[in-house]
């Protein structure tokens, strides 16, 4: 098989539903039913080796959940994830890609996560050395000397000084912590990294440092990123391809430049129009969407965007879920492009 034909990561109709069970009595007396939160509701996504896929969407649309399911921190309700064509449900074939896969680590040997909150993603009771040593130990790096060297090299790579090794996370600034988190992820020598809003809690002046670092590392280690953010400018900057999520589903997907130049889905259009811009010329015609993102508990029928949509094509929007339509190189889930 030609390796370029096989995506590094592929999800097929991935779903993650959270069920909230009401008490027995409420069920009995008020006929209360299970509340199902369809956080991720049928996402099919392909990520190829070496690229950065940006995932944007408003708060609560399921970005984090999708990221967690893909990084196996959460179990999908339905659907499957493939790594290089192997279903993760069966587990990675031993000896598959890495020379010594450790069964317990499984997927984490090849995929890692960079978290959103630099303040809570590092254990406050552990020194930097311990934090970075953990994946190394679990990876099987037993030799102390070698481990120490590796830790120092990693730390240097992310732009921190080794003299800080024995300090605790709270002694670092947000940007520095995020670097530590990156070093921890790199320690596993992954191929794939899910980065869930890695800069959104950083000061603007620091954001750029981290983004640049991530870009450098990608080149250096041939990393593949799933980059989650709600900042459209940032996504534009960093991604090769972009997927726009709305209420648990992907609304539109395509190469970054295409998608920004010519947003197809009305939601994408509104999103892009809502970004404030310095450049008066670049300001698009303002589209102010009405209402807020509906709750994923009882998502609207048909196209999930239809209650807020300004470009409805008819009752089909309300009744039937739009499939993906290929428009040029973009894929868009909107009946308009039927």
């Amino acid at each position: 098989m030609n390796p370029t034909d096989i995506p590094l990561i592929e999800t097929r109709d991935l779903k993650r539903h959270f069920t909230i069970r009401p008490g027995a009595l409420a069920r009995l007396l008020a006929r209360a039913k299970n509340i199902v939160v369809s956080a991720v509701d049928g996402v099919s996504l392909k990520i190829w080796q070496g690229e950065t896929v940006g995932l944007v969407g408003e708060s609560g649309c399921g970005k984090t959940t999708l990221g967690r399911v893909i990084s196996r921190l959460d179990i999908p309700t339905a659907g499957e994830i493939f790594f290089k064509g192997f279903s993760l449900r069966e587990g990675l074939p031993s000896g598959g890609d890495k020379s010594t896969p450790i069964e317990r680590l499984g997927f984490y040997r090849v995929a890692q996560v960079i978290f959103q909150n630099p303040y809570s993603s590092l254990n406050p009771r552990k020194t930097i050395r311990e934090i970075i040593a953990t994946p190394l130990i679990n990876r099987g790096l037993k030799d102390l000397n070698e481990r120490e060297e590796t830790i120092i090299a990693l730390l240097r790579r992310v732009g921190l000084h080794p003299r800080n090794l024995d300090q605790y996370p709270h002694q670092f600034s947000g940007g520095q912590r995020q670097r530590i988190g990156i070093a921890r992820a790199l320690a596993m020598q992954p191929q794939f990294i899910v980065a869930d809003e890695p800069v959104s809690s950083l000061d603007v002046s620091i954001q750029a440092q981290v983004i640049n670092l991530l870009e450098e590392l990608q080149d250096e280690f041939h990393l593949t990123y799933l980059f989650i953010a709600h900042d459209l400018s940032l996504i534009h900057h960093i991604s090769d391809r972009v997927a726009v999520m709305y209420l648990g589903r992907i609304a539109e997907e395509g190469a970054t430049d295409d998608l920004y130049a010519q947003p197809l889905h009305p939601y994408t259009q509104a999103l892009l129009a809502a970004i404030p811009s310095l450049d008066k010329a670049a300001r698009r015609q303002r589209i102010i969407l009405q209402g807020t993102v509906p709750s994923p508990i009882n998502p609207p029928s048909g196209c999930r965007f239809h209650p807020r949509c300004f470009a409805r094509v008819g009752s089909i929007c309300e009744n039937e879920t739009p499939p993906f339509f290929e428009v040029g190189k973009q894929r868009v889930a909107c009946w308009k492009y039927q």
């Binding site: 008490g23 027995a24 009595l25 409420a26 007396l29 008020a30 209360a32």
Partner: protein, 336 residues
């Protein structure tokens, strides 16, 4: 929906009460000391046959689980058995004694609230002031003071030295009071009996202070710290930004929210009050449940211990139920 939640919360108390009954049964029944021996008293000389008869009468000759069955079945029917020592149905004894205990517990709770609320609020508002420091020092003393010791000291000072408060009992014997509920203060109010009201209040004072001191201290501290937290919050800032007066800011915006954690603590403190009853009732000769149960424990009066401990546990469970419901009303966010 809220009603259902409350009902649900009410229903959860049922298995707890069953569990309480079972725990009490096993603990007490496995205790060494033969109840029949005790029933027969110090000087009686019972024959073996009589002993057997008694054992049979109280099902003491059956295996434990059968005894448990009898016990639970009877308990459901409101029959907690006979007190070996006092030769009376346990339920009657409990019903006789409960009002005194409830009265003192409520008295202590009220006193502690009367002391704690203003102190908690004021010392939070005037954080680090002399008042704050003094009351928090007092609160430390209150928490650390063993109740029995405080009671003795109070009696010596107020009853013996100053002679302004009675040292013991619930009411003076020369005060006539028609009992309605068994809560003397309430009864004297109901019957419009002012002398009895004054007398019973005076009698209630020292025991309530003794019992309530520690609780007052805890409530004051909890209230203070939650007030401090709330006073730092954004919505208090907003209230100020609206131009609200300091009184409104503190008493309305802050207090309402600070009371939420406090209420839970008050609920839990009722447990402390109920436990403390045993000691305070002993010190003040208060004819309540606490003394009854202490006596019963010393005399291995199983049915009475079972009954009394269950009543305590149930009172406590019910109080917390009430507190939880109150909590829902105070905290609109919580739906139990």
């Amino acid at each position: 929906m809220k009603a259902i939640k409350i009902l649900e919360r009410v229903l959860t108390t049922i298995p707890i009460m069953f569990g309480v009954a079972i725990i009490v049964f096993f603990f007490i029944r496995l205790t060494p000391g033969d109840p029949v021996d005790i029933m027969l008293g110090r000087s009686a000389a019972a024959s073996q046959r009589e002993i057997e008869q008694l054992r049979h009468q109280f099902h003491l000759d059956e295996p434990l689980h059968v005894q448990l069955g009898y016990f639970l079945g009877d308990a459901l029917r409101g029959n907690l058995g006979y007190s070996y020592i006092r030769n009376k149905p346990v339920v009657d004894l409990l019903v006789e004694r409960l009002p005194a205990t409830i009265e003192m517990t409520i008295g202590a709770l009220l006193i502690s609230l009367i002391i704690a609320l203003p102190i908690g609020i004021l010392s939070a508002v005037r954080q680090n002031s002399l008042l704050d420091r003094l009351s928090m020092a007092g609160a430390f003393l209150g928490i650390s003071m063993p109740g029995f010791w405080l009671g003795i000291v109070l009696i010596l000072f107020f009853a013996v030295y100053l002679q302004i408060l009675p040292a013991q009992g619930r009411i003076s014997y020369d005060v006539e009071l028609q009992e309605v509920t068994g809560l003397y203060v309430l009864d004297s109010l109901l019957t419009g009996n002012l002398p009895a009201l004054k007398d019973s209040l005076l009698h209630l004072l020292l025991p309530s202070i003794t019992l309530g001191a520690g609780v007052a201290a805890i409530i004051a501290r909890v209230l203070r710290s939650s007030m401090l937290e709330v006073l730092r919050s954004d919505y208090v800032k907003l209230a100020r930004a609206k131009g609200a007066t300091e009184w409104d800011v503190v008493m309305k915006h802050a207090l309402r929210n600070a009371l939420i954690p406090t209420v839970t603590v008050v609920g839990l403190q009722v447990g402390v009050l109920l436990g403390g009853n045993m000691i305070v009732e002993t010190v003040f000769s208060w004819p309540g449940l606490g003394r009854l149960v202490v006596d019963a424990i010393f005399n291995r009066d199983f049915p009475l211990i079972q009954g009394a401990v269950m009543i305590y546990a149930i009172t406590f469970v019910l109080t917390n139920l009430v507190v939880d419901i109150l909590y829902t009303y105070l905290n609109p966010k919580i739906t139990l």
